[in-house]
């Protein structure tokens, strides 16, 4: 391997942990990111919580969250669920409510996929303690009023009626897409990629950290959208797999080919 600083490393195993890219919300033109002033993404909102300044966030009274932006959307080239956005949206909705207690917060969802321990508790707390309103229905289009506020249209599919609401701020929950720089590394190694754009693994259940190429390991969001605990578990598993490979399979040069056939 040749690193960008010119150092060459000879290695027996490689771990690819190239992560993901955030879906470019500009592609969903109907939501107006980059067109209307008061539309931001989940990453922008997280940056606001960190720095405390964003010219879009000026004491908003009504805030909307749009789930599944660039996820579960074949038109934008991504069929899969990004896994983390539901919990992130509920978390951010609570944080917005805490920052602006006087505001009203609406979450527009298709399904709320709050799997996993404690996630349902956060959802209940958002409803019960913070009064966040959940509306089933994907936002169809957004337009801007003369005063800079946003007119949001969706269908409330529970009521079976079209809905409109005026909002001061709209947050788009951008999903996970395969990493573009990661793809370049994959091309160097000639690593197989599946239809969804993420790297293929040897076996999704029994060998999720092994690529089809012997000696090349994978971890984290390089093999699909993952939550933080999953990424950490993946990293530990990959480290153990590499340790096993370097102690049991690789040193036995005479039987290497046979061992790889049996154990990879």
């Amino acid at each position: 391997m040749r690193l960008t600083n010119g150092i060459t490393i000879l290695s027996d195993a490689v771990l690819v942990a190239s992560g993901f890219d955030l879906f470019d919300a500009v592609k969903k033109e109907e939501y107006g990111y980059g067109i209307y002033d008061q539309v931001m993404t989940n990453a922008d909102l997280e940056a606001y919580f960190k720095t405390g300044s964003d010219k879009r966030v000026t004491n908003p009274k009504r805030i909307g969250f749009v789930h599944c932006v660039g996820s579960r959307d074949e038109k934008s080239g991504c069929r899969s669920c990004s896994k983390v956005c539901c919990a992130t949206a509920v978390k951010q909705a609570i944080e917005v409510k805490q920052a602006f207690p006087d505001s009203e917060v609406f979450c527009f969802y298709m399904d709320l996929r709050l799997f996993g321990r404690h996630y349902e508790d956060i959802y209940l707390s958002a409803q019960k303690d913070h009064g966040v309103r959940f509306i089933r229905g994907r936002v169809a289009e957004v337009s801007e009023n003369h005063d800079g506020t946003l007119l949001v249209k969706a269908e409330n599919t529970v009521a079976g009626k079209p809905l409109k609401v005026t909002l001061d701020l709209l947050v788009l929950m951008s999903g996970m897409r395969p990493s573009v720089p990661g793809k370049a590394i994959g091309d160097l190694l000639e690593m197989p990629v599946e239809e969804d754009g993420y790297f293929a693994v040897r076996n999704g259940i029994a060998a999720g950290q092994r690529s089809p190429l012997p000696g090349v390991f994978l971890a984290g969001a390089a093999t699909g959208p993952k939550t933080l605990p999953e990424t950490l578990a993946d990293a530990r598993a990959a480290a153990m797999e590499i340790d096993r490979y370097l102690t049991e399979v690789f040193p036995d040069a005479r039987n290497y080919k046979q061992l790889v056939r049996e154990r990879w």
Partner: protein, 109 residues
Amino acid sequence: MVDFGFGLVPSSRINLDLFDREKYDKLTAIEPDARICISCGSCTAVCTAGQFAHTSLREALDDILNANPDKALESLRSCQLCGKCAMVCPRGINTRHLILSIIKVYSGE
């Protein structure tokens, strides 16, 4: 928005800008469980009055949130307060108290 003089019939569209937040806050103050409904529909499915006349707590809560409280009261008019809905509610909502609270806040009685 520009008014072209035509559009959807008001009754068939939800306009959340008309939502009465003051009354809703009053309702959640006396019955906080109003907030935690997940619109599963169990209450409507088991409703005894629902066999004979249109009755639905799930719809009533949706109608309140969708700025249509008159329709909500209409959905609860035939309720006999039997409490079957409380037995099936997955979120454990005290439905009888909720129904009485809705009527108290929204019918002005």
